[in-house]
């Protein structure tokens, strides 16, 4: 999110072989990597994390291919990648369903696929799926908001929601989770203005939302990057009667939460650190190793990160994880 | 070819062109032009369509740059780099294609490019009042300078073009076919202005295809043919027409109408009854028989074009009926299907696909007829077009050429030719010879008459009264949207028509 260069805390630097036998250099692994072109901070962080994690292993050769602007372009890029026969492929697809066939194609060519974040519907399309929990993220945000409101004794709260790009399935899942959590407490969303994961669109959506809800009790904004604009809009409208929950867990958001000087009181994580984990696990899969803390000899098939709720109380713990 | 040397090498020669050459890719538009213009004279340029007249004046105006030869202006070598340079040197030009901006006001058009400004802001009031002065001088003080040019009819636009030329402090004013869109009285007005200008010792280069005009206003004539001067400084009033025409065309064409035929009585082909369109024309009734040429005379703005377009189905009448061969015409589609054709007034904007080849333009209304199951028959179309091109003596005869490369007269032939291809039974012609040179004009007359001989009915609109009288079997006179007179062509003369058209109010009681 920020334009401050700094050390990347999202990378696993625990590569000391004495403490961690898996860290010992093994056979060489070529990791092909494909993710959509970054148009906002989270995706940019994904690519950066993957690259940095790969660089931390001397036995890993990182082969990123640009996935272009849409699913079709990414399919073409994957075809090119397959023909170059990497040991494993880590892929964050434009759309899991649209690239399912590309996953199958790679697996059929004998290349294990690590499906990152946006899920392939077919189990045959991946060796490992590691993703965030979109539904759970909405759930976490909803639960936090409900608890706070209950604690304040608000009975019929007015709740706003600013999702990201509305045509994406992940947005639908988040909103679904949010709705479910609120419904459990008898609450509902009063107004929902989608933005586009960018700060300027966040500002525009928030301005419209604030205008539509002259009084509000709580607001969930799905993405901390667009949240920069959302917070700006709130400030410009001079509003402070509500509290806000963010999404993803950017550095900027975590700092603001711990500083506690704005309406932003919490954020629910959806961390791009999953890209680092994907690289680490891809290496293990490539070398045929398992996760050393587990009994299983191989890496499991599915990992879903839990969406954690960062508040003022635990912000210090997460500070280094903000992207 | 011998060119008569200038009779006197007086100092009052303001402009002299020697061996000027200008080539466009593939065309040598000017191929050794000699021209000498004196202060205070009206020097006429004569030449067939495509002879290079417009190219010549554009070279003078700094629009084109000569590839060879020499131009002296006021005794100095002259090679204007831009139109602005030419204007600053004192040469103002009224171009053939109207060069106005529809959405600017009359005053803004008059001063476009040399706006009166203060710190980049236009001085609107003084621009308007100066324009008003010029318009008044042009005899049109009633035109409001702040009105948009868009709302003016063609004649009004021509006046604005003149106003623009006069807005410069010019020593030479070049006029490229200024009279083409003007009606008779407007031309008289134009001549009055020209005489005032020359009285102030301003030189005028005047281009027109109408020989009578050159006789009336011109002092000397220079003739161009194929980009070359074939005769220079002929006396405008006394040089016999035969000589002028042969210098222009290399042939001797009699500038006369084909002999009148005798018509047999036939039931009418077209019957128009009580046709009315608000603000355009009212209660017009007329008939055209097969093989008959009916001419409509009238002033510019009298609503003739609108009448033709309405008969053709291109405009919806408020009331009245149009019947062709007993069948009601209610739409343009039926009109065309039933054998009606129209050559509209504005060739370029209303009739031609300039970048398409001649043959496709000729078959624009009949290509479906050539087609089989929706597939066009290019070879068939080309053959037919070639036949028509022969019939019309189209030059060049090559039907693959884009129409854009043809001269005005030949473009007009293409438009007329279009309706020779289908089985057209009624042809509506709106100003068919506007901008067409003497030679081509005579050919067009032949074609029109030939059509009539083959049984085609022709309804002709022309602002040139002699043309209406010479070509038609029957003449209708229209004024302010009403038919005020109908007579067989041999029972009405030019003066009567002009009286009717202009001093029409005196004739109000006259039977229609």
């Amino acid at each position: 999110t920020s334009n401050t260069p700094e050390n990347n805390a999202q990378v696993n630097t625990n590569t000391d072989a004495s403490a961690n036998p898996n860290a010992a250099p093994g056979q060489k692994v070529v990791i092909g990597f494909s993710a959509p072109a970054a148009d906002h901070g989270w995706i940019a962080a994904i690519t950066n994390n993957a690259k940095a994690q790969a660089a931390a292993y001397p036995d890993v050769e990182f082969k990123p291919v640009e996935a272009g602007a849409d699913a079709a372009a990414q399919r073409a890029a994957i075809s090119t990648l397959i023909s170059q026969k990497p040991t494993v492929i880590v892929m964050l697809p434009h759309d899991g369903k649209e690239l399912n066939s590309a996953g199958i194609e790679a697996m059929a060519a004998g290349i294990p696929v690590i499906n990152l974040d946006r899920a392939f519907p077919s189990m045959a399309a991946y060796r490992l799926q590691i993703k965030g929990d979109n539904f759970g993220m909405g759930l976490a945000a909803g639960n936090y908001i409900a608890q706070q409101l209950k604690a304040k004794g608000v009975s019929a709260p007015i709740i706003g929601e600013i999702p990201g790009i509305d045509s994406l399935e992940l947005t639908q899942e988040r909103s679904e989770g949010f709705k479910n959590a609120l419904a459990a407490h008898g609450f509902k969303v009063a107004n929902r203005r989608p933005a586009e994961f960018t700060a300027d669109s966040g500002q525009a959506a928030a301005t419209a939302l604030l205008q539509a809800l002259p009084k509000m009790d709580a607001l969930w904004n799905h993405d901390d990057d667009q949240g920069i604009g959302v917070l700006a809009a709130i400030k410009q409208a001079n509003r402070s009667e509500f509290f806000m929950v963010g999404g993803a867990g950017s550095k900027q958001a975590i700092d603001a939460i711990s500083a506690d000087n704005s309406v932003l009181k919490a954020t629910v994580t959806y961390s791009p650190s999953m890209a680092s984990s994907a690289i680490t696990l891809a290496r293990l899969i490539g070398q045929g190793k398992g996760m050393s803390d587990l009994v299983e000899l191989q890496v499991p098939k599915e990992i879903t990160l839990a969406s954690e709720t960062i508040t003022k109380d635990n912000a210090s713990q997460y500070a280094k994880l903000g992207f | 070819m011998t060119i008569p040397a200038p009779r006197e090498s007086s100092e009052d020669v303001v402009l002299r062109l020697t061996d000027v050459v200008k080539t466009f890719p593939g065309v040598r538009a000017l191929d050794g032009v000699q021209l000498e213009v004196r202060a205070g004279e009206v020097h006429c340029l004569l030449g067939q369509n495509g002879a290079g007249k417009s190219t010549l004046i554009k070279t003078l105006a700094g629009v084109h740059h000569a590839d060879g030869g020499e131009i002296t202006w006021l005794g100095e070598p002259f090679a204007p780099a831009t139109p602005q340079a030419a204007m600053r040197a004192g040469i103002a030009t009224i171009y053939q294609e109207l060069d106005l901006v529809d959405d600017l006001s009359i005053a803004e058009n008059a001063f476009l490019g040399h706006e009166q400004t203060r710190f980049g802001f236009t001085k609107r009031r003084s621009t308007a009042s100066r324009t008003k002065e010029i318009l008044t001088r042009l005899g049109h003080g009633e035109i409001p300078p702040r009105q948009a040019v868009r709302s003016l009819p063609a004649a009004g636009k021509q006046i604005v073009s003149m106003a623009r030329a006069l807005s410069h402090d010019a020593k030479l004013i070049v006029m490229d076919e200024p009279s083409a869109v003007l009606a008779h009285d407007e031309v008289e007005n134009l001549f009055r202005i020209i005489r005032e200008l020359t009285a102030e010792n301003i030189a005028v280069i005047y281009i027109s295809h109408r020989l009578e005009e050159i006789r009336e206003i011109g002092d000397r004539v220079t003739v161009l043919k194929d980009g070359r001067t074939t005769a220079a400084n002929l006396p405008a009033r006394t040089t016999p027409t035969r000589d002028l025409v042969s210098k222009m065309t290399g042939r001797t064409i009699e500038y006369v109408f084909p002999p009148r035929r005798t018509l047999e009585e036939k039931p009418p082909l077209l019957v128009v009854d009580g046709l009315t369109r608000e603000h355009e024309f009212a209660d017009v009734s007329l008939t055209v028989a097969p093989g008959e040429i009916v001419g409509i005379a009238g002033l510019v703005g009298s609503g003739r074009s609108e009448l033709l377009e309405t008969i053709f189905g291109a405009r919806r009448p408020d009331s009245g009926t149009i019947t062709l061969d007993g069948k009601r015409i209610r739409s343009l589609g039926t009109a065309v299907r039933k054998g009606m054709g129209m050559a509209p007034e504005e060739r370029k904007s209303q009739a031609l696909l300039l970048d398409e080849p001649i043959y496709k333009n000729m078959t624009l209304s009949s290509f479906s007829g050539f087609a089989r199951a929706g597939f066009t028959d290019a070879a068939g179309e080309r053959k037919a077009a070639e036949r028509t091109a022969d019939q019309l003596e189209l030059r060049p005869r090559d039907v693959m050429r884009p129409v854009r490369t043809l001269s005005g007269g030949n473009q007009q032939k293409v438009v007329v030719g279009r309706w020779l291809l289908g089985d057209t039974r009624l042809l509506l012609l709106d100003e068919p010879t506007r901008g067409v040179d003497v030679g081509a004009r005579a050919e067009l007359y032949q074609v029109i008459q030939g059509l009539a001989e083959n049984g085609v009915g022709v309804l002709l609109v022309s602002s040139e009264v002699p043309e209406v009288l010479g070509l038609s079997d029957r003449v209708l006179v229209m004024r302010e949207g009403r038919m005020i007179r109908e007579a067989p062509a041999d029972q009405i003369d030019e003066d009567t028509v002009l009286d009717l058209v202009m001093a029409g109010s005196l004739m109000e009681g006259e039977p229609a």
Binding site: G41, T198, S201, Q211 | D103, L104, G141, E196, G301
Partner: protein
């Protein structure tokens, strides 16, 4: 010298008519705006019963229209001049990103504003050179620029959202003058300047000439190439201004900002009566076009319409707006002709 002969009447009716074309068109748009507000009142009477809210809402609509409004003014000039500028959104992104690099921010607000404006003008000049001297079709030249400028913006920003740490810049969006947001003042200023430039200066009159009849403009001695160049530079300048406005609103800039502004600006200009083929258009109309769009967004927001319904309805409203406008246009013109 001046002889007054009875002139033939070449000129007849209605000199009012031309001016009215535009006025009536704009009236049509005002009608559409009123209609949208009426729908708002009917659907949300509770909100509209609070005068403070109504005032705020009005200012919000204007404020949200401000950046795109500025861009539309530039776009209107380009279109009247016979061109089109597909790169406006990309120029904003590039100018915004450039103005918010750490290096630029170190020069303070003035440095940031200066950078945004210069970047805007320079990109506009490149467009102009490609089009007037390189003879590229405007659509293609500015499309290429769209792609390239967003690419460069991504490169410069490292695909990160660049936060503005400059409070002067960030405060622009929240400052009010005489109760009216500064951003709205900027829009008003740009619109006024645009109006004067178009209607009261040689530059504006020549723009109409260049777009309406380039051949005539050339024959009148206007340097069409240079003028075209200036038009794109003007559009670039407007983008630079808009970049600052947006950066201030979002307190940040990034390569994907002002996404699809080109379509919005072109649509607003056309709805406002600008001819896509050039030679005709009005600044006031363009402003109304922008306001129609921003009022639609506002109406959707207060009614909490879902994106998909929003889009369907929006398509319908656009069609309706143009039809209403046409309808009024024709009938009133007819009336005047009587």
């Amino acid at each position: 010298m001046i002889t007054e002969t009875a002139p033939p009447e070449v000129q007849k009716r209605s000199q009012r008519r031309h001016i009215d074309d535009n006025v009536i068109r704009n009236l049509g748009l005002v009608g559409v705006l009123i209609l949208l507000i009426v729908v708002g009142i009917i659907t949300k009477p509770d909100l509209y019963s609070d005068p403070t809210w109504v005032k705020n809402n009005f200012l919000t609509i204007l404020q949200q229209a401000s950046a795109i409004g500025v861009v539309t003014v530039g776009m209107t000039f380009v279109i009247i001049g016979g061109g089109i500028d597909l790169s406006v959104g990309a120029i904003i992104a590039l100018a915004g990103v450039w103005a918010t690099t750490l290096a630029t921010q170190s020069y303070g607000a003035a440095g940031m504003i200066f950078t945004a404006l210069v970047v805007g003008i320079c990109v506009g000049l490149v467009n102009g050179v490609l089009i007037s001297y390189g003879k590229l079709v405007p659509f293609i030249a500015t499309l290429a620029m769209l792609v390239a400028a967003r690419g460069l913006a991504a490169q410069i920003s490292g695909k990160q959202t660049q936060v503005s740490a400059n409070t002067t810049i960030n405060d622009i969006a929240s400052t009010k003058l005489l109760g009216i947001p500064l951003l709205v003042w900027i829009l008003a200023l740009v619109v006024a300047a645009g109006w004067v430039l178009l209607n009261r200066t040689t530059f504006g009159r020549r723009t109409v000439a260049v777009g309406g009849n380039p051949e005539a403009a050339r024959l009148a001695g206007i340097n069409i190439k240079r003028h075209t160049l200036l038009l794109y530079a003007l559009s670039g300048l407007c983008c630079g201004i808009a970049a600052i406005m947006l950066t201030s609103q979002a307190t940040s800039a990034q390569a994907a900002m002002a996404n699809l502004y080109e379509l919005d600006a072109i649509a607003a200009a056309i709805i406002g009566g600008t001819l896509l083929s050039g030679g005709r258009g009005t600044i006031i109309g363009a402003l109304f076009g922008v306001l129609v769009f921003s009022t639609i967004t506002n109406l959707f927001a207060i009614n909490n319409l879902s994106t998909e319904v929003q889009n369907m309805v929006k398509g319908g409203i656009i069609v309706l707006a143009v039809l209403i406008q046409q309808f009024r246009f024709r009938s009133v013109t007819q009336l005047l002709k009587r």
